[in-house]
């Protein structure tokens, strides 16, 4: 399975500011995703980070609020812009891993970034 790291692991931010979260994978992967997990809730997909093209956003999420970069096959960033307390969540990146001898897809998650907005 892929080893995934995220930076920062946690942060406390002021309303109106922006935070960029980094996701680094130890091997090249085709698919990378960004999820949000609000307090006490399950995971919601924000967008699929596409290498070399614009991210694909899910309903309810827009590029101006959550710009995403994917410069190569091992790295992606998610920015949470113009933050409000409602953005307080855990943000998780995940990657699709294809491991031999089982070619079926599996998804692995990073440790998450805990964001608190005051």
């Amino acid at each position: 399975s892929a080893v995934i790291s995220q930076k920062p692991s946690r942060d406390i931010c002021q309303r109106g500011t922006s935070l960029t979260i980094q996701c680094q994978v130890d091997s090249q992967v085709t698919m990378m995703f960004w999820y949000r997990q609000q307090p006490g809730q399950s995971l919601t997909l924000i967008a699929t980070a596409n290498q070399g093209s614009e991210a694909t956003y899910e309903s309810g999420f827009v590029i101006d609020k959550f710009p995403i970069s994917r410069p190569n096959l091992t790295f992606s960033t998610l920015t949470v812009s113009n933050m409000s307390p409602e953005d307080s969540s855990i943000y998780l990146c995940s990657v699709e891993g294809r491991t031999l001898p089982h070619p079926n897809n599996e998804q692995f998650f990073g440790p998450g970034t805990r964001l608190t907005v005051l």
């Binding site: 399975s1 698919m31 995703f33 995971l43 919601t44 079926n104 599996e106 440790p111 805990r114």
Partner: protein, 110 residues
């Protein structure tokens, strides 16, 4: 609308008391059914993927099964270290994105 529902929301068991967690799904074109374990403050840890009705997978005290409408995560003789939130998720159609259930918070009492 594609939906994944987990029950119960929370479950408390005595150490050694076996039980099952349920994940029901109403999706068009299930591609895979995933089970994850999540400890507080951490990202989900991959457990299993099931792809077709009748399939079963095992790992230590956990066994996952799949029918055309639901999946079960059976836990046999659990230990306190099995305490965690267990999430199921469905991968639908031709893409890899996951739709998650709300999870079952499992507590094993010594």
């Amino acid at each position: 609308e594609d939906q994944v529902t987990q029950s119960p929301e929370a479950l408390r068991l005595q150490e050694g008391e076996s039980s099952s967690l349920n994940c029901s799904y109403t999706v068009s074109g299930l591609r895979g059914l995933f089970w994850y374990r999540q400890d507080p403050g951490k990202g989900p840890e991959f457990l299993f993927t099931l792809y077709s009705a009748g399939e079963e997978k095992e790992k230590e005290r956990l066994k996952a099964t799949l029918t055309k409408k639901e999946s079960f995560l059976h836990i046999t003789a659990p230990k306190p270290e099995d305490s965690a939130t267990y999430l199921c998720a469905a991968s639908i159609g031709g893409n890899e994105k996951l739709t998650f259930g709300t999870g079952t918070r499992l507590t094993i009492i010594p």
